[in-house]
Symmetry: C2
Subunit: 589 residues, 2 copies
């Protein structure tokens, strides 16, 4: 039941699918060359397998607990965190200026996929630190950066995001937490925040909270929200730790999964904080954290999906049940065609979502360091387009694949003692937090399709068409059939896209009623594009990789891509049938 | 968060969709007429709402516990069981000869849907008794019937099914429990059984275990399995209770859900049992229980789905978030198109699966009491065809819909305190037990399609075509569009059926690799057939029902039926792409 980091699949996805090679030779990454990929992945894989994975089920069972002194992480987590910290993993893709290694972000994301897969509850802690680092890099003053970044990058301290309040979930603008100027440049922050991941713990000596709050007389709604830095323990100008700040965890949520990740109710009582970014521009700062977190949450889906597939594959090789031609005695259930199909579904979808997430990561890197403005602009559009898909499609996939993992286990899958059962519970949060998947769909349909005159999706569609062409040009009958499926699916996506862009103008409610179906279609097709690319690229790989990638692409083409044309109606017609009878269905117009 | 029995939806499904009226005037049901439906559903609905539903979350939290004296049900469950027993619900569709009310089975199933929806962990107890009653009715001797049936029908005693052993799950024939003749007509049963639902408890005074075991020198495998009656407490010839038998619960499983349903490890130590049915024909007897249980498990999917939809609809009306045109202040999330779409998906699929299950129930009734042999034969084929679909499609639906219910709740849905979270956990067992959904798919593709020269599916396809025709003949543009979708979907199902029948002969592995996709397609199309029928039938109903049924059918047609043609490749091509590269994917040929 060990988690084994899928180093070769990850390396293949990075180099052959996501375009990591486009970052080679980029002056921003002078430390980077392709020879680093395998050693980094191998080393991170060891931490995942040997340190994090063994704590996954024990952490689920024990959970984090709230004591008088604060939150105590599950047994072993403090040591595991120390190993993570000492390995320098937090700084992998942080700037050298602040103690990082200056490597591409996408490498850091690949490493995070492993940590999520090995122990999602644990990995949430550095994931939040990562968001805090991004926000400080983008919006912090030089003093703020100097004070906080080195400790966050070294992982001596951790970071949190404090957005949600009981009345302000998806609608962040409804928050009420107050920030009153103290007259010395600092603010007194008071209010309650809920669902704060790793909001308190004992695995690091300080916690840097990034808190959304409202200045006195700030405009109502999201235009009156500002972001503040609130350390758990006050930090002197020399970096020394001082008094406890006015913030504490007053409750832990009892959740369906990720038990070892403390989900805190945080109380701020005249806590001292400092503005980050401009007054009333907190939402923009928050989106810096959010965008990075969204992609990272997508990787939770990938990581948990990978863990579910591995666990199910292991079980299918061990568990014997029933007779099969050619096998003496009871056969491992892997020999049953239906079990193989579940496993293949899992593996194909995990690989597709991995490619989508990494491609988004490469785009995020290029959007910052691309060598021409044109390249940076194009990459930014690609990143913006793929972020909601990476988040929503990958996390829905994670739930589906974890559920299939349970099914492969039969009755054992419903027992809390199995990892499969835990993954089913853990996976379920990812479609919810960092913007529900419905919010992602609205973001995709409402904002991302209209950016730059629709250029983001137009260029994606063109790239998919090129992939289909390259598959057809191999003249390999298997690949030609995949190419035909991809082409038809791409036409369907194009048709649905045109409808969505038009309908967002003509009737926004009708458009939004198809948004989730549209995102699902986009993810299905873009995922198929990457698997097709994989089958083409793998022609020059060894027989095993070639066979595997061809099978995954072929299976996916017949199961997911073949369904794409029929899914257009789901986008364009489904919502209309519903909205026409709103009164009868919902009792409201 | 109360569960409100959906009496009008259930009555509509029974009478307008499932064909309950075909049982009116049948001499076997002289107690039955249509006026009884509403009062029975209302009364059962009260028990569900007032007694069972309030214990659903408390039961989840407390669970059943194993004490020295045996298993103690969760607090309140014994009283709830007494209310269930005193209401006479166990005997609703049992023969009058044994104390029942002699009403159609399908009415009993409709009532069970409510109990499953209100409290699935509770409803499992009578569900298992129901299976024991069916087995005794079909295979018991007159003495056995006289001894056990009155007490089971009155619910004074409960029943269990003891099949699974650690090495014998889906492959029941691998079981090892022994039955040695005592020389007095009884047998000494010894062995261990696992996953025994309500295997022990304190809510009734006796438990009648039906136990699969192997006689000395019995043939290996499933042909050497016999079924035995093993009472927990010995029953004298006068019906009096005597000594404790050699059976006890030695452990309770810690499960993902249905915590209040004790899942027992049972140890049989020279327990006294009596053969039921013929020697070595236990599997046939077991299938009597199993078939009834499979349909009942399908209704768990329906019931939990209904509960999830209701809970989500309630929450969507209460929870305010974000602004919407036409609503002052923050709007209930029900106003957001994406939330409505989730709710509509839930409701449409619940209604479709309800109709499939009830139609299977009506067929089960007619298979027994149809007035001509021809009618009985046709009904038996329909029952056999629909049973695996009712079980698998409805339970997969239950998981999907419960997961959507979580999503509607946002962060709250991941908190154990919400019913939505519990339903997500509870629902997950149903695709596994009583034959995994993969086993159902193999049963459908491998056995049900070939019965009577394929007549079962042929007549189903013809009926679907007739439904499409009747929808088209209304000349209502909305219904005509639904009819077109249904027709195209039906053609797709027909094509996939032809392929499956042929491939089961030509290459069984290839066929079975498409079995789950085939069952999903069949369920999608048959579900759409019933919703279409509902839209046609509702034309003579009040405006509210008409609007609702039209919207559900229209929505389903564009979302599920429209995808059916594209799903044929998933059945016919998906497995081949996978099996061709088995070595690369699985390391085995």
């Amino acid at each position: 039941m060990a988690y084994n980091a899928p180093v070769s699949d990850i390396a293949f996805a990075l180099t052959s699918l996501a375009g990591l090679s486009g970052l080679e030779g980029n002056p921003a990454f002078e430390n980077y060359d392709a020879d680093l990929i395998d050693p980094i992945l191998e080393e991170a894989g060891k931490l995942a397998r040997d340190v994090l994975a063994p704590l996954n089920q024990t952490g689920d069972k024990a959970g984090a607990v709230l004591e008088a002194s604060g939150v105590k992480a599950a047994p072993g987590f403090a040591d595991a965190y120390a190993a993570f910290r000492d390995g320098g993993w937090m700084g992998l893709s942080a700037p050298e200026e602040w103690g990082g290694q200056g490597l591409p972000k996408v490498l850091g994301l690949a490493v995070m996929e492993m940590f999520h897969g090995a122990n999602m509850a644990f990995a949430l802690c550095p994931m939040l630190s990562f968001g805090a680092i991004e926000a400080l890099l983008a919006h912090g003053t030089d003093d703020q950066k100097a004070k906080y970044l080195p400790k966050l990058v070294s992982a001596e301290w951790t970071g949190t995001m404090n957005l949600t309040e009981p009345q302000a979930g998806s609608d962040v603008g409804a928050l009420k937490t107050k920030a009153v100027p103290n007259g010395d440049g600092s603010y007194a922050i008071s209010g309650q925040k809920i669902y704060i991941t790793w909001g308190d713990h004992d695995v690091a000596e300080n916690i840097i909270h990034l808190v959304l709050a409202r200045l006195p007389d700030a405009p109502e709604g999201s235009r009156g929200v500002s972001l503040f830095i609130v350390p758990k323990i006050m930090v002197g100008d020399d970096g020394s730790l001082g008094e406890q700040n006015g913030v504490k965890c007053i409750g832990l949520e009892q959740k369906v999964g990720i038990h070892a990740s403390p989900t805190c109710v945080m109380e701020y009582t005249q806590a001292t904080g400092w503005l980050i970014g401009e007054e009333n521009k907190g939402l923009a700062c928050m989106f810096t954290m959010m965008n990075s977190a969204r992609l990272n949450v997508g990787l939770e889906g990938v990581g948990v999906g990978e863990a579910a597939w591995q666990t199910a594959f292991d079980y299918a090789q061990e568990r014997k049940q029933g007779k099969v031609a050619g096998v003496q005695g009871a056969a491992p259930i892997l020999h049953h065609a239906d079990v193989r199909r579940m496993l293949t579904t899992m593996r194909a979808k995990v690989m597709a979502s991995r490619a989508i997430c990494y491609a988004c990561g490469v785009a995020a890197d290029l959007a910052e360091v691309g060598e021409t403005q044109e390249q940076r602009d194009a990459a930014k559009l690609r990143e913006e387009l793929l972020t909601p898909i990476a988040k929503a499609w990958s996390t829905d996939m994670g739930v589906e694949v974890a559920s299939l993992g349970v099914q492969v286990h039969g009755g054992m899958g419903f027992m809390n003692e199995t990892l499969a059962a835990q993954l089913y519970r853990d996976a379920r949060i990812a479609p919810i937090y960092e913007g529900t998947n419905g919010i992602q769909a609205i973001d995709l349909a409402g904002r991302k399709l209209s950016m730059a005159g629709g250029a983001a999706m137009t260029s994606m569609l063109a790239e998919i068409e090129a992939t289909a062409r390259s598959a057809r040009e191999t003249n390999d009958p298997g690949l030609v059939q995949i190419a035909d499926r991809l082409n038809a699916a791409n036409k369907a996506l194009s048709e649905a896209t045109d409808w969505m862009k038009r309908m967002m103008i003509e009737d926004r409610d009708v458009a939004l009623s198809g948004a989730t179906a549209y995102l699902a279609l986009a993810g299905d097709v873009i995922g198929g594009h990457f698997l097709t690319k994989g089958a083409v690229e793998a022609r020059s790989s060894d027989g095993q990789t070639r066979g595997r990638m061809t099978a995954l692409a072929g299976f996916y083409a017949e199961t997911s891509l073949a369904s794409a044309p029929g899914a257009v109606a789901s986008v364009t017609q489904g919502g209309q049938a519903m909205l026409a009878e709103s009164e009868a269905l919902f009792g409201i117009a």
